[in-house]
Structures are given as C-alpha cells and as structure tokens.
Symmetry: C2
Subunit: 240 residues, 2 copies
DNA sequence: CTCACTTCTTACTTAGGAGTAAGTTTACTG
DNA sequence: CAGTAAACTTACTCCTAAGTAAGAAGTGAG
C-alpha cells in the first residue's frame, strides 16, 4: 500500500508468504481448482517465482501440508506436555486441538476436508447427506436416552453433539478396519457402543467431566480456570 | 464378451452402467483428475452419451453421490428399523454401516474421502500425518489406562481403536463447533472426555457391549445371533 | 564503478480435457 | 417396407492452467 515499488525480499521470507497465501487459496478452492497464478498474485509476486522456490504445484501443496501439520502437532504436544497424568494430558491435547482448528480454520481445511475442491452444488450435496445422517443418529440418541434414564431431557444441542462423536468415530474406524481385516463390522459396532454408551448419559445429562486432582503435583502454578487452551502456539518462528 | 457388436441398451439401464463406472473412476482418481472420456469408455460408450444422459461432469458426479448416499442410508435405516429399543436400533444401524462400507468401498470413498484427488505423494503425506497423530493419542490412551486401572494391559490394537474413535470424533466435532460459536474448545474437550473416558476402560479391558434384553419384544422373530448385519441390502432395484 | 549473485518479470508453449455440432446406425411400429 | 424416434459416433472447438525460456533490475563486495 504505502510502498509503491515492490520491495525485494529474501527467499526464506518470500517462501513463507507464498505458503501463507497458498494455504488460503487451497482451503478456499481445493487443490485442483486453485491456480498457481492466483496464489502468486496474492503473494505479490509472479508465477515463475513460485516455481523457482517450490518446484511445482504439488511441491507447493506439500509445503503447505508439512508446515500446517507441524504447527498443529506442535500445538497438541505443547499442551499435552507438562500436565501430570495421561488423562490430563489427553484432555489438554484435545483442548489445544480444538483451539487450534478454531483459530486456524484454513489450516484445518487444507489438512482435512479437501472436499471444497468440488463445486458448490456438489459440496452442498455432501453436506446435506451428512446432515441427514446426523439428524437420524441424534434422534436415536435422544430416544434411547429418554427411554433409559427417564428424566434427563436431552436437549437437541446435546444429542447433536453425541451424534457428531458417533459419526466421526464411525468415519475414522473405517480406516482402522482396513488394517484389521479379521474384525467384523458387528464387533466394531459393539466396541464402539461399549465405549460410548455410558458416556452418552453423562453428556446428555449435562454433566461435564472435570479434570481429576493431579496425582503428582499438589498445586499447579497454572491459572485454575483455563487449562492451556488460550495460549495457542504461534508458528514456530520461521521468519528471520 | 460373446456379442461382438455393441448391443443397444435402453436409457435407464445405460445410465446405471455409466454411474457404476463413474463411481469406480471417481473413487480411484478423485473428481477433477477423473476424465469423462475414461468413464465413458469403461461403460462401453462414447462421451456425448454421458452428456446427453447426465448433462455435465458435475451432473454425473451428483448422480453418483445421490445414488450411493441413498443406498448407504437405506442400509442403515433398514437395519435400524424393526429391532426394539433405540439402543438396539443404534447398534444395528452402526453395524449395518460398517458392513456396507466394507462391502462397497468405492461407494464410501466417493461419499467421503475425496482426498484421492490429490497425487500419490500428497495422499501419502496426509496419511503420514494422520498416522502420527493416531500413534500419539494411542500412547496417551495406553498410559492413562495403565495408570488408572492397573492390571488391564491394553493391547496395541485396542489402544489404536480408541485412538481412532477419539480422532474421528474430534474431526467431526470441528463441524459441530462451527454451528455453536459460543462453545469453547475447552468445554468441547471436556464433553468429549466425559463421553468417552469411562468407555475406554471397558474397551481396553476387552469387554464387549452386549445388546440388552429387548424391553418390549419378549421374543423376536429374528435369528438370535447376528442382528441384521449380513443382510446388506443390495441396490434398491433400479434396473427394470 | 563493476562484477556477480539473487530477486523478479514478461511473454510465451503446451497439454489435456470439458463440452458440442452434425451426422449415422439400430430397432420398433404401423 | 417405410418412417420415425432413440441410441450412438466421429471429429471437432476452445479454454484453462501448468510449466518455462530468456532476460531485466535491484543489491552487496571489492
């Protein structure tokens, strides 16, 4: 804006700028519809620079993946380290994960849902199908809990939460099953029920799991309220 | 095979053949890298036919999505209907889901992971990152359980199962959070812990959830052993 | 100043694939 | 055996976007 002529910038810095913009564009458009020209322009640079520094479109995307995966992993690990019991560490890690993907939505989209590659109509179709499944599962959850525990009065929001857990877990277990051909769907479903059924009642009753007393550290130096979440780690300081 | 010259075939049938092949190709290559020419050729037909019947590449893909989503939903619903309590219905539905995606992998890939759109190297990178996360979470799970419940001896396979549930649920809750901006990551993480922590012990102890006695149906007409899972519904008989 | 090195640009080439115009063959119908 | 409608083909057009060749301009060292 202020500087009319574009300042020359050392390679390391320019690379990060390119990756910054690439993450945005890949998140918005998806891999194939994203054009290197657009990324270059947003980075205030011309296309051949991108090829000089990152080799190819694929190289560029790989660089994005690596950097963003590293940042997310770091956020998780940093949070999970330090606190005492594994239970606490897991909780802190999860919390940091959710915080990170909230802050850095683009990053998450690039790492995860490459569905945005598809056109509006197609994305909508996918979303609609998923929503239908969620609604169905949430309904079952609500009925089941109402029947089992009488007075709990599951709210819609909470049943929806449980439905997301179930559907997400089911998605993910699909991969797990590929590496365990001996397992039958029946057994997998039983295991999932086993793992989740009791907890559903708690969640739907509005209970919140509370971190237990840290067994080895009698009093922590941390603030008593928020665990670690707000201090989302910034990028591991790449720019000089 | 036997007929040398290509037999003419009515539109309804040909459409289904095209969609059959499209599902395969989209699953293998992903949306953009898939070429309509290839799909047409596999369907034993030339490209303009595809455009005549399905309008566009997008229309073709939408047709695939609709048909496959419908089949999967039907599989779930058919299984969930009939059995008594919601708990049972949920279990039967999950079981049918896992059975369906095992049988119809292409279908699932098209509905779910459009990541195969990306090149070999990129897919590998994504898979690697995910595996790393899984390993980390599985480690925490193992430690946590070992500490909490002394003698349970969580096997690698079981810890891995729990890790998949957690990571998949976390993935999915990302979407849920978007529609609940008031929720903090901290609260979401607590809820997830609440829902899952107790169940982890059971799963890692090797326990399997057993379907309870159906409260309203004293004796079902079904076979007592398998619920509904093996009778995966075939396509809802589209071809005339 | 000038040599050498890095940053950066303009202006291409090229390939692949979506979509179409126009015509051809098969098969049923009276 | 027409005649007609549906099934089907060949042979294109055209556009987008990846990737590159060749050189210009800023920058620091002697």
């Amino acid at each position: 804006m202020s500087d009319k002529r574009r300042r020359r910038v050392p390679r390391q810095v320019r690379e990060q700028q390119i990756i910054d913009m690439a993450v945005q564009v890949f998140a918005k458009r998806g891999y194939h519809p994203a054009s290197v020209d657009e990324i270059a322009e947003l980075a205030g640079i011309s296309k051949p620079m991108v090829y000089l520094y990152l080799d190819s479109k694929e190289g560029l995307f790989l660089a994005c993946l690596r950097r963003e995966a590293e940042r997310l992993a770091t956020a998780f690990q940093k949070a999970a380290r330090g606190v005492g019991s594994p239970e606490m560490r897991l909780w802190a890690g999860l919390s940091a994960f959710f915080a990170y993907v909230t802050e850095h939505r683009d990053s998450w989209v690039v790492l995860h849902r490459q569905t945005s590659e598809l056109s509006e109509a197609i994305t909508e179709e996918v979303a609609r199908a998923r929503r239908a499944v969620m609604a169905e599962v949430a309904g079952l959850v609500r009925d089941g809990i109402a029947e089992a525990a009488g007075p709990v009065r599951p709210g819609d929001e909470e049943a929806d939460f449980v439905a997301h857990v179930l559907v997400g877990a089911a998605d993910s277990l699909t991969d797990w099953m590929e590496r365990h051909p001996g397992e039958t769907p029946d057994r997998v479903a039983r295991r999932l029920m086993n793992m989740v059924w009791v907890g559903m009642r708690n969640v739907l009753g509005g209970e919140l799991w509370e971190p237990p007393e840290p067994p080895h550290a009698p009093e922590g130096p941390e603030a008593p309220d928020a665990p670690h979440a707000p201090d989302v780690p910034g990028p591991p300081s790449v720019e000089g």
